[in-house]
C-alpha cells in the first residue's frame, strides 16, 4: 500500500470513473445517433437520386428507340438499337420482341424480373425494381415502346454507389470511435478537474483527523471555494480551541509548579524549626508540659509530610513539564540495589535476589540514571511497606514479559520486581494505582505518603525508556515490575 493509500480512505466506487463512464456513454450515443441519421439520410437521398436518374435515362432510351426503329424492325435494327444503348455503357439492356430476346450482356436476365414489374410494364407503364445481379445490386427499369411490341429492361448496376455508401459508413464509424475516445479523455479530464477539490478536501480532512491542524485548502471563487472556506474556518476554530486548551493546561501546570516552588523556602524553614524544636525537647524533656511536647512532635511529623508532598509535587510538575533531566551512566544493579536497601535501613525487611528470574551468573548492567532508579525503587518499597507487609522481595532479572521482538537487541529489557507479602491489591483498584492521589480505601486517608509516589515512579520509569506495571503476585501480595532498557553481561 502506498503512503497516500494509507493516508486516504479509498472510495470503494470511484466517482471519477463513474463521471468518465457517463461522459463516454453520452458521447458515444450522440455520435452514434448523428452517424446513423447521416448515414440513412445519405442512403435514402442517394437511392432516390439513383432511381430518378435510372428512370430519366430509361425514358430517354425508350424515346430514342421509338425514333430509331422503323415501322417493321428487323433483327439487325434491334441489334443496332442495342449497340446504340451500349454507347453509354453504364447499364445493361434486355429487349423482348415477341419471343425474341436481345441482351447486351450475360448480366441481363429475364429471370431477374419480378412478375409485378412485368405486369406493370405489360400494362404500358414504366416501372422499376431493385434486384440482385451476380456482380451486385442493381436497379432495373422496364418499359414498352409506344409503337408496342418491344419491351425493354435496363439494368443499372449500383455496386459503385453502394461502395461509396459503405465508404461513408466506414468514415462515420471511424469518426464515431475517435469521438468516443476524445469524449472519454475529455470526460476523464473534466472529472479530474471537477473532483480535484473534492479530493483535496478529503485528503485535508484525513490529515486533520490524524492531528495535523495546520492544513488549509486553497480557496477558489466557485462552489468548492465556499466549501474550502468553511473547511478552513473549521480548522482555524479547532486549532484555536486546541491552542486554548493546551495553553490552559500549561498554565495550570505552571501554576502548580510555581506554587510548589514558592513553598520551598517556607517549608525549608519549617523543617529546620521542627528539627530544632525536637532537638531542644530531647535535650530538655522536662522543659514543657507533656501535651506541649506531644503537640510539638505532631507538628514535626506533619511538617515532614508536608515536605514530602512539596518534594513530590515539584518532581511530578517537572516530569509533566518534560523538564526532568537524566544523568545516564552504567549501573550494576545487584550491588546498587543491595546498597540502596542497606542505606535506607531496610536490611531486615527487604531481600534482593536474582533467583528465579532467568539470570544465572550474568551481571545485570544497564545504562541509566541511578538517582531515578533509586527514586522508583524507594517509592515501591515504601509503598509495599505502607500498604502491604514485610518481607519485601526485590528480584532482578531479564525481561520475561511476552514481547513480540524479545530477541531483538534493541528490545532488551531488564526487570526489577518488587513483591510484598501483604494482602495484594483488589482487582478493581489495579487499574488506578498509578493515578495521582488515588486512595484504594478513602476511609484510610490518613495513611502516610503524598499519594504521588507510584505516579512519580511510573513517570520516572518512562523517562528512563522503560515502564512500570502492577499485578497481584502469585503469593497474594502486590507485585510491581519495573522494566529498564539493558541486558545481562
Amino acid at each position: 500500500m502506498t503512503e497516500r493509500g494509507r493516508l486516504l480512505p479509498q472510495a470503494r466506487r470511484s466517482l471519477r470513473r463513474r463521471v468518465t463512464l457517463i461522459f463516454v456513454a453520452a458521447v458515444v450515443v450522440t455520435a452514434l445517433a448523428l452517424a446513423l441519421s447521416a448515414y440513412f439520410i445519405t442512403k435514402t437521398a442517394q437511392e432516390d437520386e439513383a432511381i430518378d436518374k435510372a428512370l430519366a435515362q430509361s425514358r430517354f432510351n425508350l424515346f430514342l428507340a421509338d425514333s430509331m426503329l422503323p415501322a417493321a424492325p428487323e433483327t439487325t435494327d434491334y441489334d443496332q438499337l442495342l449497340d446504340a444503348f451500349q454507347i453509354r455503357g453504364d447499364f445493361a439492356t434486355l429487349m423482348q420482341a415477341g419471343s425474341e430476346i436481345y441482351v447486351s450482356g450475360p448480366q441481363a436476365k429475364l429471370g431477374l424480373i419480378t412478375p409485378e414489374l412485368a405486369a406493370k410494364v405489360a400494362d404500358g407503364r414504366i416501372g422499376y425494381q431493385t434486384i440482385a445481379m451476380t456482380d451486385g445490386p442493381a436497379i432495373v427499369v422496364g418499359g414498352q415502346l409506344r409503337s408496342g411490341g418491344l419491351t425493354v429492361y435496363f439494368y443499372y448496376p449500383q455496386a459503385d454507389r453502394l461502395a461509396e455508401l459503405a465508404r461513408l459508413r466506414n468514415i462515420l464509424l471511424i469518426a464515431g470511435v475517435i469521438l468516443a475516445v476524445l469524449g472519454a479523455a475529455a470526460g476523464y479530464w473534466l472529472a479530474r478537474r471537477l473532483l480535484g477539490p473534492v479530493r483535496a478536501a478529503s485528503k485535508a480532512a484525513a490529515r486533520m483527523s490524524q492531528g495535523d491542524l495546520d492544513i488549509r485548502l486553497p480557496v477558489g471563487s466557485d462552489e468548492f471555494g465556499v466549501l474550502a472556506a468553511s473547511f478552513n474556518r473549521m480548522a482555524e476554530n479547532l486549532q484555536a480551541k486546541m491552542t486554548d486548551l493546551e495553553a490552559g493546561q500549561a498554565r495550570e501546570r505552571r501554576f502548580v509548579a510555581d506554587v510548589t516552588h514558592e513553598l520551598r523556602t517556607p517549608v525549608s524553614a519549617l523543617v529546620g524549626e521542627a528539627s530544632l524544636l525536637k532537638a531542644k525537647l530531647e535535650a530538655h524533656p522536662s522543659a514543657c508540659p507533656p501535651e506541649v511536647s506531644h503537640l510539638a512532635l505532631l507538628v514535626s511529623a506533619d511538617i515532614a509530610r508536608l515536605r514530602q508532598l512539596v518534594d513530590d509535587l515539584l518532581e511530578i510538575s517537572r516530569l509533566d513539564a518534560r523538564a526532568a533531566e537524566t544523568l545516564i551512566e552504567p549501573v550494576d544493579l545487584r550491588p546498587f540495589l543491595t546498597q540502596l536497601v542497606r542505606v535506607h535501613g531496610w536490611s531486615d525487611l527487604v531481600r534482593v535476589t536474582t533467583a528465579g528470574t532467568g539470570l544465572a551468573d550474568e551481571t545485570p548492567v544497564t545504562r541509566t540514571d541511578k538517582r531515578r532508579v533509586e527514586r522508583i525503587i524507594v517509592n515501591l518499597v515504601e509503598n509495599a511497606l505502607r500498604h502491604g507487609a514485610a518481607p519485601v522481595t526485590i528480584e532482578i532479572g531479564r525481561e520475561v514479559r511476552a514481547h513480540g521482538a524479545a530477541d531483538a537487541p534493541e528490545a532488551a529489557f531488564l526487570q526489577i520486581a518488587v513483591t510484598d507479602s501483604g494482602p495484594g491489591i483488589a482487582p478493581e483498584h489495579l487499574p488506578h494505582v498509578f493515578d495521582r492521589f488515588y486512595k484504594a480505601d478513602p476511609s484510610r486517608s490518613s495513611s502516610r505518603g503524598s499519594g504521588l509516589g507510584l505516579a512519580i515512579a511510573r513517570e520516572n520509569a518512562r523517562l528512563l525508556g522503560g515502564d512500570l506495571i502492577v499485578s497481584s503476585g502469585w503469593s497474594g501480595g502486590a507485585r510491581f515490575v519495573l522494566f529498564l532498557p539493558g541486558s545481562a553481561l
Binding site: 523556602t265 525549608s268 529546620g272 528539627s275 530544632l276 515536605r307 518534594d311
Partner: protein, 238 residues
C-alpha cells in the same frame, strides 16, 4: 570549632532557623539578607564559609558568588532550587564548592558544611598544626602540590585554588595513572558515601583545568576516561 559562617538568605524565617541550627552545632554565624550586604559582611567579617541562597532580590546568588571568587577562595555552599541542572551547574561554575537543595533538613546542611570545612581545615589551621602528619609534596607534570601548605606551584608561581579544587587535584595526583570514578571522587573529595551528584565532579574538573592546564580544551594533566571517570597523568605533551 568556632568557625564563622556567613548566611546569605532573603527569607527571614529560613535565615533565622539556619543560624540557630548552625549555632546549635557550635558554629558562629552572621547573616545577610541580600547580595550587597553579603559582600560588605564578607569583607568586614572574613567568614570561613559562605552559605549562599540563589534567589536573592537584586544581585542574585550566582553574581554574589562570582564577586566573592574575585576576591577570595572562601568555601561557598549554594542553597539552590531543587537539582535543576541550570541552577546546579550555574552555581558550580560561578565557583561554589557544593550545593544543598531546598527544602533541606538541618542535619543535611550541617553535614555539607562540615565536609567543606574539613577540606579547608588544614589551610585555616595553618601548616604548623598539621605538620606532624603532613604528607610529602607531590608533583604532577610541571606542578608541585604541597598538601601541608595547601599550595600548588608551577615553577615558583603559586596557582590559587579553592579547597575543593585543591583536594580534587591532590586526590587525582595521589593516584597518578589510576582511574578514579566519579563516585570515588565524590567520596574522597566531598565526603558523599552514597549517590552524590556527579555534576559536582565534572564542573570542578572543568574549573581545575581552567586554572592548571595550559590549554584547557586539550588537557594533559587531568584526563577524562570516557564512561568511567578521571585520571591524572602525563599525556605525551605535544
Amino acid at each position: 570549632m568556632d568557625e564563622l559562617l556567613l548566611i546569605v538568605e532573603d527569607d527571614p524565617s529560613l535565615r533565622e532557623v539556619i543560624r540557630l541550627g548552625l549555632e546549635g552545632e557550635g558554629f558562629r554565624a552572621v547573616a545577610a539578607e541580600d547580595g550587597p550586604s553579603a559582600l560588605m559582611a564578607f569583607v568586614s567579617q572574613r567568614p570561613d564559609l559562605v552559605l549562599l541562597d540563589v534567589m536573592l532580590p537584586g544581585l542574585d546568588g550566582f553574581a554574589v558568588c562570582r564577586e566573592l571568587r574575585k576576591i577570595s577562595l572562601v568555601p561557598i555552599i549554594m542553597l539552590t532550587a531543587r537539582s535543576s541542572t541550570e541552577d546546579v551547574v550555574t552555581g558550580l561554575e560561578s565557583g561554589a564548592d557544593d550545593y544543598v537543595t531546598k527544602p533541606f533538613e538541618l542535619p543535611e546542611l550541617v553535614a555539607r558544611v562540615r565536609s567543606v570545612l574539613r577540606r579547608a581545615a588544614v589551610r585555616t589551621a595553618g601548616g604548623a598544626e598539621a605538620a606532624p602528619a603532613a604528607p610529602p609534596p607531590l608533583s604532577l607534570g610541571p606542578l608541585t602540590i604541597d598538601p601541608s601548605a595547601y599550595t600548588v606551584r608551577r615553577g615558583c608561581e603559586e596557582i590559587p585554588l579553592t579547597v575543593t579544587e585543591f583536594r580534587l587535584l591532590y586526590e587525582l595526583a595521589r593516584h597518578t595513572g589510576q582511574v578514579l570514578s566519579r563516585d570515588q571522587l565524590l567520596e574522597l573529595v566531598w565526603g558523599y558515601s552514597y549517590l552524590g551528584d556527579s555534576r559536582l565532579v565534572d564542573v570542578h574538573v572543568q574549573r581545575l583545568r581552567a586554572k592548571i592546564e595550559e590549554d584547557p580544551a586539550h588537557p594533559f594533566l587531568v584526563l577524562t576516561v570516557r564512561g568511567v571517570g578521571y585520571r591524572a597523568g602525563h599525556r605525551e605533551s605535544p
